[in-house]
Structures are given as structure tokens and as C-alpha cells.
Symmetry: C2
Subunit: 333 residues, 2 copies
């Protein structure tokens, strides 16, 4: 590996390694998002799919199938499937969150309307299942239908945990599995199953995807309180203003005395926030070591991802996936 | 068949015949709409599922499997699948249409919120696919994923045909197939496939479900202009006020002179409606024989449904399905 390669982010190295496959996946995505009769569908889909997402989920599928020496031709279908499921959930998320921006562009619900986002999302979800059926594996279908249920359940759970200061760490973990880890782990597990990998490799790839996704989401939630602001590409304090009950908040509340608890009940539970409240929240988190323990939690999940993938045979892709688990937590430093 | 049975509506006779199976389907629906972690899910689902729908789609599945002498135990899963897909589309429809009432009760989007309706719909759709995977047939999965895509595509198409006076009969047919016929025909076709029926029986049951659904929807659209009002359980003129371009409108526009075309462009295209416009629309439809030709179209589809089912072997259920095709158009008289 030369210096230039080392300097590249691991997902860019993966993209370079999987280049030809990714092109075919993109061609398949474009072909399948077409609708002869309802031109609104490809318009809305293209707006989101061509906006330059990293295609991390299709890459996880392709990485898993390569790592398991898959010789067939259905991995592109599986990769397109997970991207469609992801895109469908983004369309619905933006309706649910009333979002205005995604990937630096106006959201579909703003450019068209909520109706189009809901229905085009449904269409993409159905298209995903069609592609999956073409993979010809009931076990792959089982994995992805379970992941879809976990995603939706996590989203509904999030509706009731938001603004609820009694949210537990177990509930938080369910929410972030639905948000990120369920589709990551389904991508890597289904890739291994499609390749006919032995059970211990299937399990290793499942655990890798799950731990990578959980780690990624905890880092995101850490940075909203512990980050430096503009360097992280999102506004620090957004979660606080939106009254999300994330891990740093849950752990700060767990250690709160009665006065602190009244503070959290006011700013998160009731949503009454004044100048200086966000700084006070951060100060409480520092006092109780909450930010540091959240950071350690993210690192522990990253370590689990690396340990899981270490069980796989020696392979360039294995090393890139391991580096990806490091990269995800590099934002913590 | 005694007099009492003859007096019953065919779907009530079907429900009586399939009683034990329907109970098991209802038990399965209740079990699978549960969510251990997000209680909002069964609350929203129960509101709609327990509201006393006729379970016509699960009955079509069970009727098809019985008619094809199915001996297995997965027909309940298939029947629950189609009811879940149907319920998911109702939840999303009510968000898209901003509906306030469904089956005589306040809609979920009104009682909870749009977010819950979107996400619980997604959850039920995922649950439907899980149930389908348990049926263990890739061909059944293929049929139902295709139907799901047709449903969503029809809904998106409807967004662009609404208020568009250039809508063609072909587009209209696609919209109503998405709205009703696609899931009817998927229910009967998938039932036959699950039962391992010969191809001509699979095709017959597909055609029956398709024609029954198309007929049903054309009758609905006829009654909105040609009906007698309160006898039909919906307000006459609703489609006109909502500027829907249904078959009676398409055929009236096809025969319009330039003055009449300007009328349709104003009331449907621009949505400028004054007192007396609805009566004038009905008068134009009578003048051009549009209502009569719409009525004949519905009857022709009902006949197609009966012709398709006539190919099946002699069976009580075959006769009830045939009667159901008559019953659907009986509202025309």
C-alpha cells in the first residue's frame, strides 16, 4: 500500500477497490428507480440518490460478498436493495422530522410535497423487495425483512423516547440500531449468506456491521455535545434543541441530583430552554464524566467491530473494514 | 342452500364458510401487530384493524387456497400478509389525502399524528414481508412485491392525474388497479400459487381478482355521479369537489365540445366551482350517455370476473366468488 492509499479514508479505498461493482450497482439503481407511468418517481428518487451519498451500505454488501469469495452475479441486486431501503427510509424520515435539508440540498418533501415523499418511499421499498426476490434466497429475504421491521420499530420508539427523560440505555440502543446498525448488519450478514459463507463468517460479518453502526451513531450523539462545532459538519447543540434523549443525556440524568434532574426535566422534558442552558448541560456532562464515558462506549463498539472482522481470513477488504471501524471513531479525537 | 343463506350477501356467506380460518388469521394479525418495545404500534394498528373492515382481501386468499385444495398451514400467513399490506396503505393514504374519517372513525393521522401513521405503516409493511417469507415461496413473494410496487406507482400516478383533464382511460385503469385490483388479484393469484394449483387455475384466479377489483372501483366512481346519495354510504359529488378525474369525467371530456371543455377545465383543472356546477356536470354526462357507458364498463368487468372463475372446478366457494362479482355491481341498479 503506497502513501497515497494510506492517506485515503477507508471508505474511499473501499470505493476504489469495488469500483467496477459499484458502477454496476449504480446502473441497476438507475434502471430500477424508473417508472414508465409515474415520472414523479424517478424525479424524487434521483434528487436524493444522485445527491452524492457515500453508498456505504451497498459497499458493505459488496465488501462482504467479496470477502466471502462470492462467484455469482446477484450481489449487485442485493447492494441496490439496501440502497433502496435506505433511500425509502430517508424520504419518510424527512417527512416525519419535517426536515428542510439533506446532504446540503433542499429535501424532497420541501421541493415536492409530503405526499410524494411518502408514496415514492413506499414505491422504493416495494422495488427493494422485488430486487431481493431476484436474489433468490429466502434467508436473505428473512434478514432484510427483519431489518426493515427493526428500522420502523426503532423510528416509532424514537417518537416516544424523544423528550422523555426516563428513556433507558436499552431503549436508546434499540433506537440507534433501527436508525443505523440494523441496515449495516443486514448488509454484511446478507452478503455473507448470499455468498454461501460458513455460519461463523456470517455471524462475524453480522457482528461487524452491527457494532460499526452502533459505534457510528454513538459518535454522532457524542459530538453534538462534545464536538468542536463546524469541523463535524453538523451544528453542535442540535440534539439538545430538538430535545433528543441520547446517550450523553441519559448518563447525565442517571447521575443527576434533584436540582440537576429538575434542569433536565425543564430543558428536555418540557422544552423550556434559555440562554446558557446548553453550556450548563455540557458543564454537567463534564462534571459527571458523561462525555468521557460516552466516548469510551463508542470506542468499545469500534473495538467489537474490529474483533469480529479479525475472525475472517486474511484479505485486503478485511483490513479496509477494520480501518473503517477506526475511522468511524477518529472523529472523537 | 336455504333461504336464509340466499338472502345473505356473498361476502357474509364466504365469511361464514371460512369462519374457523378467519379466526386464525385474526389471531395471527393480532400476534404480529404487537411490538414489545414500541406500544404505539399496536395502538395505531388496532384502531384501524379492529374497526370492522370486511377482511375481503384475506377472504380472497382463503377462498383461493380452499378452491385449489390447499392442504398446508401457511394460508393464514398469506391472508394476514395481504391484510397488513392493505392496512399499511390505508395509513399512508390517510396521510396523503389528509383524511379525517375512515370506517366511521377518526383517522390515525388525526388521533395520533402523521408521523405515527407513516412509521407504523412502514412497520406493517415490513411485518407483511416477514409473514410472506414464512410462507416459504419465492413466487408468492414475487407476486406480492410486484403488487406492492403497482400499488405505490398507482398512488404516485394519481397525484399527477388528479385535476388533470388530459388523463387517459389507460392512466385511469392504472390508478384503480393500484388502488384496488392489484391487491385483490395478488391475493387470489398468490393463494393459488401457494396451493400448487395448475397454471390455468392460477391465471383464472388472477383474472378474477383483477376484474373484481376493477369492477368494484368503477362502480364506486360511477356512483359518485350516478348514485342516489345517502344509500351508497358516501356523499355524492365528493369526487367532483376533490377534482378527481374518474371514468365518467374522462368520457364526458372525450365527447365535450369547446364550451363543455372550458367547463371541465374550470371546475376540474382550475378547481373554480360554483353552485349548480355539479348538476351541470351530471347533465352533461346524461346528455352524452357517459354514465350509461361507465355503468356498462363496470358490468363488463364483473362479467369478466365471472367468466374467469367459471373455469374453476365445481365448488361452493366458486359459486360464492361468482355471486360476489354480481354483488359488486348490484349497487348500480
Amino acid at each position: 500500500m503506497d502513501t497515497q492509499q494510506l492517506a485515503q479514508a477507508p471508505h474511499d479505498r473501499l470505493a476504489a477497490y469495488l469500483g467496477k461493482d459499484l458502477e454496476q450497482v449504480n446502473a441497476l439503481i438507475r434502471a430500477r428507480m424508473a417508472s414508465e407511468h409515474a415520472p414523479r418517481i424517478p424525479e424524487v428518487t434521483a434528487h436524493l440518490i444522485e445527491a452524492g451519498g457515500k453508498r456505504i451500505r451497498p459497499m458493505l454488501v459488496l465488501a462482504a460478498t467479496h470477502l466471502c469469495n462470492y462467484q455469482g452475479a446477484r450481489h449487485h441486486h442485493l447492494a441496490a436493495t439496501v440502497e433502496f431501503i435506505h433511500t425509502a427510509t430517508l424520504l419518510h424520515d424527512d417527512v416525519v422530522d419535517e426536515s428542510q435539508q439533506r446532504r446540503g440540498r433542499a429535501t424532497a418533501n420541501l421541493l415536492w410535497d409530503n405526499k410524494s415523499s411518502v408514496l415514492v418511499g413506499d414505491y422504493l421499498f416495494a422495488r427493494a423487495f422485488q430486487l431481493m426476490v431476484e436474489c433468490g434466497s429466502l434467508r436473505v429475504l428473512d434478514i432484510l425483512s427483519n431489518a426493515s421491521a427493526t428500522i420502523a420499530e426503532g423510528e416509532v420508539l424514537q417518537l416516544s423516547t424523544a423528550q422523555n427523560i426516563d428513556t433507558t440505555e436499552d431503549q436508546y440502543l434499540r433506537v440507534i440500531r433501527g436508525k443505523t446498525a440494523a441496515l449495516f448488519s443486514a448488509a454484511t450478514e446478507a452478503g455473507a449468506v448470499l455468498a454461501g459463507a460458513p455460519e461463523d463468517h456470517v455471524q462475524a460479518l453480522f457482528s461487524y456491521g452491527d457494532a460499526l453502526g452502533v459505534s457510528f451513531q454513538i459518535v454522532d450523539d457524542y459530538l453534538d455535545y462534545g464536538g468542536a462545532g463546524d469541523a463535524i459538519g453538523k451544528n453542535i447543540g442540535d440534539d439538545f434543541r430538538e430535545r433528543k434523549v441520547t446517550l450523553p443525556v441519559i448518563r447525565a440524568i442517571a447521575q443527576a441530583d434533584s436540582e440537576e434532574r429538575a434542569f433536565w426535566a425543564r430543558v428536555i422534558g418540557k422544552g423550556v430552554q434559555n440562554d446558557g442552558d446548553f453550556a450548563h448541560a455540557r458543564a454537567l456532562m463534564t462534571r459527571h464524566g458523561t462525555l468521557e464515558s460516552t466516548r469510551r462506549e463508542a470506542l468499545a463498539w469500534s473495538d467489537r467491530a474490529k474483533a469480529a472482522i479479525a475472525l475472517m481470513p486474511d484479505h485486503d477488504i478485511r483490513d479496509m473494514l477494520s480501518d473503517l471501524a477506526d475511522y468511524v471513531v477518529a472523529r472523537l479525537y
